[in-house]
Amino acid sequence: MSDQQTVTLSKKDFVSDQDVRWCPGCGDYAILSQVQKVFPQFGIPKENFLVVSGIGCSSRFPYYVDTFGFHSIHGRAPALATGAKIANPDLSVWIVTGDGDSMSIGGNHLIHVLRRNFDLNILLFNNQVYGLTKGQYSPTSEIGRISNSSPLGSVDYPFNPPLLALGAGGTFIARSIDREQSHLQGILKEAYMHKGTSFVEIYQNCWVFNDGAFESLTEREMKMETQLILEHGKPMVFGKNKDKGLSLKGSKLQVVKLGKKYSIDDVLIHDEKNKIQGLLLSELSYDKKFPTPLGIIYKEEKPTYETMLYDQIEKSVQSKGKGNLDKLFHDSHTWNV
């Protein structure tokens, strides 16, 4: 937790010498590019980054970023990142994971890393399909998905990632999308700035196995009607003419049309620190009647795990004195022969 010296780096400093092997046209390229763009902007030396992943298409990510990286095993990246962060709290740790890796096989680690609030960042590439194993439905696929493992349609209800993260005690929950490059950049920076576990769900298109999953959110014609761009302190309006908004009806959200019956004053102001509101926004993930929230859904400041652990260590050294082996060995009844 020492002061970092300011360094000047550029995107190319974070491009590794490895050939990128994702399918041409994969949404992962855009995300990689944004990460390589924002890393040099943080002003920290490139050797102080660590990118950790599990297994899956997205988990190849560390190989392509020229800093320290660990491509671990399926679902376990949060656990590995936990050990790294405790061993060296100065590192900027980034977990790259997919919807299978984090929501299915690694679900347990994900919820625990969220509740512990380490200062690290989780990028969930959500393409709602298993890509690397060739197309099975995933824990975020909508019910009824036809796939090679669900020829009659899946009967699995999906996870709602932001809602799960919120329930697990996450302190920074945001969503962006591979095609919205400047929005994604902004969210990545916010995630870095947040002192705590940042959970960023990134909708990512897999054109081979689930093409067009987020088309309505990215096509020029439709997206103005489907994207709800969240900005702290601003009313939650959307639509081509900014003529629609979210308001509260009882304890539920509703879409209102601004004009005769409703005015801008009826529209709810986004408060990223309001957990109940965060919960309501998270609920909209799969609901076609509502726009999809993009941006910071919820944010909260609280002490990080590593800060509290190191406090205990320092206090212990102060109160007991620096550990001494000889003293330790003699701390019970001894006798001489």
């Binding site: 990286g69 990142a81 022969v337």
Partner: protein, 613 residues
Amino acid sequence: MTNKSKSKKKVDRVVIRFTGDSGDGMQLTGSRFTEATAIMGNDLATYPDYPAEIRAPAGSLAGVSSFQIQFSSDNIGTPGDKLDVLVAMNPAALKTNLSDLKTSGIIIANKANYTNKNLKLSGWEFNPLEDDSLRDYRVIALDMTRLVSNAVEDMDLSVKLISRSSNMFALGLVSWMYDRTLDSTINFIKEKFAKRPELVEANIRALKAGYHYGDTIEEFQHVVTVSKAKFKPGVYRNIVGNQALCFGLITAAEKAGLNIYFSGYPITPASDILHILSGYKNFRVKTFQAEDEIAAIMSVIGAVFCGDLGITATSGPGMALKGESLGLAIATELPLVVLNVQRAGPSTGMPTKTEQADLFQALFGRNGESPVVVLAANSPADCFATAFEACRIAIEYMIPVVLLSDAFLAHGSEPWLIPQTKNIPKIRNHLFKKSNGFSPFRREKSTLARQWGIPGTKGLEHRVGGLEKDIETGDVSYDPENHEKMINLRQQKVDIIAKDLPPVDPSGDKSGKVLVVGWGSSFGAIKEAVNRSRKENHTVGHIHLRHLNPFPPNLGETLLKYQNVLVPEMNSGQLLLLLRGKFLIDAKGLNKVQGKPIGVDEVYDNIINLAGA
């Protein structure tokens, strides 16, 4: 306090087992008696045995808790096979332990607990204290609860409290019988109950009442004494296996100039290691109680990648969960230590009972060709040296190491010669500190250790992972020949360690009729059995393997110097199969898988069988 009124009788060794209900305080009684015995200068070994249920129904067979101690004027290695004294605080304890008592051994029973209800609960048709079913033993049946009650009658204590102090009465009585002082226990009581003076007073009175009772009653003609044992000169303390493991780890970290990162998930009988290390924050030990066994080892891998000495501890079921992660540590060639405190399996098995059936799991329990270094500790005190050795190998060879302990070692105790820390050799780590000349898979010739470049070090940025790596660059490679080279390299990394290991040197006879080869906690039993058979002029040697993978360099040729090889194990013959497979010898197994340690007599009988053949 001294015994003046009765004569003294000297013996070489005594085995006592304190048994009672889980709530009777038998572990406390046993550990206090142990400390008093350590002060007397006897050699000793202890073995606590307790139910997996935290609070089994009172008075039931399942709820019996016991603590066994052997103390002697000789050097001993086990808590003893047959009991001289059985303290049985209730009928369930008598029922489950009586078969281990020597004929004409002493039973000390608290009559107050031999009620109709308790007798029925533990399956006695009649009260054994009142009929002749115990005629082969010396029975001292006392109403300890009433005797304690008399001793504290002016104190206005609850019946429950009085009954709870009866273990102190038993301790006082046994202390008198074997001439132990009460001082250390009195000090302990004063410290433990410092905030409740009435408990201090009650417990001390109960303790003394037991002690004086021995002096008074006629059943004891004499006090039994045991002379001091001969020890190597030095300063000693009593140590429990799990504690010794922690001391070994922390010493290795200091000698290697590294900090410890420890992560574990609570599991019997390994949890103590997490408890102990979490108290060493002033040594800058970082402990992390993980959400599961997998997270524990994965977080260790993360910490090791960042330059800490990483350790995790578990038992068999947890070891199974860690398998894939251990494979990752092998593939990424990172120095970490996995402690497996073995318990009876398979599956949940018998969590509080001992066994050594995880050897194959340690050696082979992963996918692919994934060799790992395997060590085993052989006694509670040896846990120190073996933990240190595990860390040394991990760090100097950049390789994961599995250390096998077991429930018997974990909770057992014995005197430990405290080492002079300044004489313990340093451990050389491979942290790479320059900013040029680094390549993550560039190796040192003598150890094949790769360079350890950690995040935060300028110029060493690199990526590792579980995919196969190019032998030169460390980049991902699917090249068929490269894969085979890497398979061979990972095996060589284990094999090369044997070069630096001390050759095996059998104790006892260097050639002859029988060689007993053991590993793990059977050490003491084998040692005593070998000594006994040699006194009867059989030519017998003993090898106890600390290094199970790789084996010491001259093991094969040593086996050939004996007509018979006997391999006692608390499993169905795992080391046996390895020795037979690797060295093509017709070794014989002594296999006992009952959740209990192997006894001296069993090993002795098997030696004599082979030696006589």
